[in-house]
Symmetry: C2
Subunit: 326 residues, 2 copies
């Protein structure tokens, strides 16, 4: 089993790499080699008992060794995030669209079709706060990032039908709690209102407390990505997109879970309305009815309070160090 992670230096890429290093296998098969690709060559995960090859470059001009001959599984996580793709249209088209086409074109040259696990997004749908989307809901994106992800899904699905590769496109919910620092994603505050208070820092909430979002934890997202890599795709037929079983939560319920883990912490969250941020996130659907994901074996989500505890267990200390906090 030979695996590549594109976007291997990112938040989820590092977590997937660490998990592969810890497990030593994927879908019951021993891992023989891992390639990590990102703009800058990523650091290899600690404790891997297989060779790890780290490659830097531009995904839209993908070097062949980012997906070496013999690769069986590609995690294609390389992307320009939502607010950045909205701010720089050309960059978003280049990385999110051209990059995916480059992945397809590289995979076409492999001797056997590789499983490609692609992280699409809740942002590829519209509908907003009132939405409760069924599995066959039409993707009507409300931002360039979502449009680019939906188009990339179309190309990967078509490439699967043609036998170039074997894709699963998982439309990830907003992932919280992200470790590290705030980023350029419009959804950054969903993590910020939990992470920053747990670090003892104040933070801003740009939307109202009853604002609802479709979320998932990093632990659950990694579980789902590994499932995408090893599941049988035959029952998916021509439709290679999947809405996983995330959680529909309000900001208020997130702050309650925060206080349950660290009493009083939500006092560090100040409400500072930001119409630019709200305009983007208000377009994303707040709930799904992900029935198909259940029949395809995607694991159910843990309760919100477990998600907060997992951040404390997995990422709080590293985040504190990374940011130079005592």
């Amino acid at each position: 089993m030979r695996i590549s992670i594109l976007g291997g230096g990112g938040f989820l890429g590092r977590k997937v790499a660490a998990r592969l290093a810890a497990d030593g296998k994927l879908g019951g098969e021993a891992i023989e080699a891992l390639t990590l690709f990102d703009v800058v060559p990523p650091d290899p995960p600690a404790g891997a008992r297989f060779p790890v090859h780290c490659v830097g470059g531009d995904v839209a001009d993908l070097p062949a060794d980012a997906i070496p001959d013999g690769t069986n599984v590609v995690f294609h996580l390389a992307a320009v995030v939502s607010a950045a793709a909205e701010a720089d249209y050309d960059l978003g088209q280049r990385v999110n669209v051209r990059g995916t086409e480059a992945v397809i074109n590289r995979c076409r040259k492999l001797a056997a079709p590789a499983r490609v696990v692609f992280t699409s997004s809740v942002a590829s749908f519209g509908g907003g706060q009132a939405a409760r989307l069924a599995d066959d809901a039409r993707q009507v994106p409300t931002n360039s990032y979502g449009a680019q992800k939906a188009a990339a899904e179309l190309f990967l699905t078509d490439a699967s039908r043609r036998g170039f590769l074997d894709a699963v496109c998982i439309r990830l919910p907003t992932i919280i709690v992200r470790p590290g620092r705030p980023n350029k994603a419009a959804s950054s505050f969903f993590s910020g209102i939990l992470r920053e208070p747990l670090l003892g820092l104040s933070t801003e909430l740009p939307v109202a407390p009853d604002f609802a979002a479709w979320i998932a934890s990093p632990r659950r997202a990694v579980e789902w990505l590994l499932h995408c890599a090893s599941m049988d795709t035959t029952p998916m037929g021509l439709d290679r997109g999947i809405n996983p079983p995330g959680l529909s939560v309000t900001v208020a319920s997130m702050l309650n879970a925060l206080d349950a883990v660290q009493p009083g912490a939500s006092a560090l969250v100040r409400r500072v309305y930001d119409p630019a941020i709200e305009k983007i996130v208000a377009g994303w659907p707040a709930a799904f009815e992900p029935l198909r994901s259940r029949t395809l074996g995607f694991s159910a989500h843990e309760p919100l309070v477990d998600l907060v505890r997992a951040f404390v267990a997995d990422d709080l200390e590293a985040t504190r160090k990374e940011r130079g906090l005592a």
Copy 2:
């Protein structure tokens, strides 16, 4: 009113150009200039009372004068058809995807957003013979052409939201009767079984007589395209795709209409099953419920027998000449 037709040398492009030349105006405004763009510079339409500029080139490397400064309306009809896009993946991606991105990038440079009328396709949907698709049906294409058209819709819709242009993406049914010769579209036989017998020639039917299809006449398609060019797009909101009110017909009903216009003509149609053709067309939906198109002012379709008579009136003689038939 300055207009460009990309794919101006094609079947529909020539019909739109001829209609503009005859009308001298579009949406009540006088036409000041027309540009026709295609791989080879198209011939100008007869009788135009405005300057016609004919340009040749590659749509994926679009020359600026294909859409001159000051252009108000772009008909983007340039495409690689279904069977050709299936046979040559790279060509389809280049013309159907990269070409549309080139149109967007050229339109971004115009002083005011142009109306872009884009011909998407019934082939951007799946569902097949049993389908009866609502306006919010998800596009699950069953071929590369359909995937490329659906992706192009996403980019044009996003570009509209961003204010780069003002697009209407009309998902044309299979257009019959096409004049001229059979082409590489998998749907070519839908026209062939009417056109060839009317020319006194035998032809092959690759599917069963009860095979159903979603079709429209060239006259109706031109009406719709002109409506797309002049309609108010405000009621469309973020969803710039439209399923027009075509006709759902069986092959048998087409042959009945043929015999109604020219008794006994259907005897020239021989049933020769072709699984490669059937595989492509069987994926396309055979019926829609196009309610939204009615509220947006798209005209209803005429009966099938009128469609056959219109081919005889509009295109039979020219087709006879073009093909050197007595």
